[in-house]
């Protein structure tokens, strides 16, 4: 087997590995969203037992851990530039989430806003920030 053919086969397997890990992450993410919806709406509309609610929360936590591990694998399967883009995006998202989250909480505790600070707003903020950071970082290196 020539070295060029070997490298091509290795590279193709790397690309397929990245696609596989991306698809795996998408499936884990969808499963986690489904379990969080199950906890929220199940306890409201499907059952009244707190034991079932507790079991649903444990299931959601377990699937959440699976999603985190899938995300870790996805980042590790990228090449060096893809990992750099992810690292910069995650650093900005983490920093802005902490600063923005604390400020948002203080707005609530000091009664500068009428409604209670909701964790869902912070999660939404983190998601949008992360997507925008990945988009602009990818453009920066293209």
């Amino acid at each position: 087997m020539s070295s060029k053919l070997y490298i091509n086969q290795k590279s193709n397997s790397m690309n397929s590995k990245l696609i596989t890990s991306r698809n795996r992450l998408a499936k884990w993410s969808m499963a986690w969203v489904a379990t969080t919806a199950l906890v929220t709406f199940g306890s409201q509309f499907l059952w009244e037992s707190q034991i079932i609610t507790g079991l649903a929360i444990i299931l959601s936590l377990a699937v959440g851990v699976g999603m985190v591990m899938a995300n870790r694998k996805f980042v590790n399967d990228g090449d060096e530039l893809q990992r750099k883009i992810q690292l910069e995006s995650m650093a900005l998202t983490l920093g802005l989430a902490v600063v923005g989250g604390i400020a948002y909480s203080q707005l609530d505790t000091t009664n500068l806003i009428k409604q209670d600070a909701e964790i869902s707003f912070l999660v939404l903020f983190m998601g949008i920030t992360y997507i925008l950071c990945v988009f602009f970082n990818a453009r920066k290196y293209s």
């Binding site: 490298i7 091509n8 590279s11 090449d79 060096e80 530039l81 750099k84 293209s142």
Partner: protein, 66 residues
């Protein structure tokens, strides 16, 4: 760092995708390296040198940022 990867690649009539496959990175990474927007790691630099059959010093020219 400046580099002459684009010229060497063109001389070998390779596309960015061809080169990306050979050095085990994405095409976007090859593009970023060629434009000088991203400095590759040492293993990637060695793989590039192996593809073009030259030394790393012949591929990359270090420029001080100051």
């Amino acid at each position: 760092m400046k580099n002459n990867i684009k010229e060497l690649r063109a001389a070998l009539k390779m596309t960015q995708s061809d080169l990306a496959q050979q050095i085990e990175v994405s095409r976007q990474t090859v593009n970023a390296i060629e434009k000088g927007k991203f400095d590759p790691s040492l293993p990637t630099a060695f793989r590039l040198a192996a593809v073009f059959n030259c030394s790393i010093e012949e591929l990359f020219v270090y420029e001080s940022e100051s």
